[in-house]
Symmetry: C2
Subunit: 338 residues, 2 copies
């Protein structure tokens, strides 16, 4: 019997239907996903590689562990580098000029679009990096968030990572992105509204309630390192969706920098488990944060593998059919060495 | 300069960014989309083909133009046939048994899932059918909607069509689907709320306002046959998204059966234009209807081509980047003979 489970944040009902696509269910269980080759481009023509700094806009942040004369900005020697996107989705220069167009609403496409080059090495993906190498990426996110927040035109800063062609990644070289928008995405507004509603009605944080129930239950827990818990959400939209949530209430990512060490560690564990379970799947990673300092928010990371065309599509209106019960995905991921 | 346009129904901002992906933009313009072969299965092993009726559940509706002794139910001779899905997403038998699971909400996966086999011919897609052959499909939708509405467990009836593998179609044989759910999908609730909000504030129907503005403007109109207008919506989520809207207020699809003739005609025109423009693209077609008779609703059909991996993905939280301005898509589609 299929199940209907309501996502407490979006109020959407998700169908958990293992019988609907038995082949796909099996695929998730035995880790036989069709491999999705990365965008292949040799380092010489990769604009994210060292020695090719001239092909990118000037860097806005970089980590150069061995400072010295060879470590000038926009030259090799960096371990991590943040640059504006060469073909940005939104443009930094200009005014919003919001206006009506008859019944419609229009603004100029003002925003920022940056690329965090996570490593100088062309061939090492985030799952190959040690926690000690991932932690500086989190600090780079923080630095860029703090800087971009000063631009009063921006209402939300989306931090995300697309890995693999199926997830839409345009580079094989490991990278994340930040997009600053003059509006708060509707999905974020919905989530914040759910957190506020729960606080108003019950005087508690919805995500704290969820983290507590998940750790007590254990059924959907993939990993718990004392500071963060990783679990497959109750109403997972897609197979092997995994969330990483701070165990104690933590409104904003930027303010939790004291725990970037354990966050890097659990992120590394989860990425290696997913890679082993699903043959290096494409995935999308999103950092959920609040538009501005909000005591009701509880930041977290969502990772959704993109398993290719054989997964049934949503049939419209945002209803998802997930053939892999999150309890099965969690059990499978728990058993994998990482 | 990219543009930000707000979808008046979902309140989501869409980024129209032709510079972001110039190759894709060009692709849309010149119709050079990579072909997406249909699920290939010979008629002999296609369970939707005549002579294979034994491999499907018993039909719930059929059109047999030449009635006679050879036209018994579940035997060949039909022009159109509706059957329960052999592997349904939701099951008809049982109780909903809604219950809490700690902080979460759960129901049994009760619903109905039917397949409308649109033609007896294995090789003719909907774009190959004449308006006179499409009109009975619309009447079949109506018959099934009227019948399924009598089951009080169901709160919404989703009518949709997935064409092509990229859209998730599981058969190459032309078909549509109906899924009855015990909940109203969130996307439908959002749309109905926008229609109610506009009516409350302005005493007018939002979709009537839009249809009027589009026909006066003409910029985004693809085709207008006096009863229906087809246009690319102002805040198109994806390239070549096209809506078909009744020009005079029409709350419910089931009640508009007097105009299924012109609706079939414009649907045929649009499907042939899209096929010619984009090399037979995969697409998803959704019928937007209301959960129950609602004078504020204005039914319509949404068609979204699925153009494959080269289209940039949403970066999370439901924000879409569309590289093809709907005005360009409309102009291109208008110029195509159909």
């Amino acid at each position: 019997m299929p199940e209907l489970r309501k996502d407490p944040f979006s109020s959407r009902w998700i169908v958990i239907a293992p019988e609907y696509a038995p082949g796909i269910y099996e695929l998730g269980r035995v880790g036989a996903a069709v491999a999705d080759p990365l965008f292949s481009r040799p380092p010489a023509s990769c604009s994210l590689c060292p020695e090719n700094e001239v092909h990118t806009p000037p860097e806005v942040y970089a980590l150069r562990p061995h400072d010295g004369p060879a470590a000038a900005a926009n030259s090799p020697g960096w371990a991590l580098r943040v640059i504006p996107h060469k073909f940005p989705v939104l443009r930094v220069e200009g005014d919003l000029s919001p206006r009506a167009q008859g019944v419609y609403d229009h603004m100029n496409g003002i925003g920022a679009h940056e690329v965090i080059v996570e490593t100088a090495s062309h061939d090492r993906q985030m799952a190959d990096l040690s926690p000690g190498e991932i932690e500086p990426i989190l600090h780079a996110f923080r630095q860029r968030l703090l800087d971009l927040r000063r631009d009063t035109r921006f209402r939300y800063l989306s931090v995300f990572k697309a890995h693999g062609q199926r997830a839409g990644a345009g580079f094989g070289h490991s990278h994340s992105q930040i997009i600053a928008t003059p509006f708060v995405p509707q999905g974020v507004l919905d989530k914040i509204a759910a957190l506020h509603g729960h606080r108003d009605a019950r005087k508690r944080c919805l995500m704290c309630d969820i983290a507590r129930q998940e750790t007590e239950d254990g059924l959907r827990v993939v990993h718990d390192n004392g500071a963060f818990v990783a679990f497959t959400p109750y109403a997972s939209r897609t197979p092997f969706e995994t969330w990483i949530v701070p165990l104690s209430h933590a409104p904003m990512f930027e303010d939790d920098n004291g725990r970037y060490g354990p966050l890097a560690t659990i992120l590394s564990v989860i990425l290696r488990k997913l890679r082993a379970a699903l043959s290096d799947p494409s995935y999308i990673l999103n950092l959920h944060n609040a538009p501005c300092a909000d005591p009701d928010n509880h930041f977290h990371i969502e990772i959704r593998p993109v398993l290719g065309r054989s997964i049934p599509v949503p049939w419209g209106s945002g209803t998802y059919v997930n053939p892999t019960p999150p309890e099965d995905a969690a059990r499978y991921l728990r058993e994998i060495e990482s």
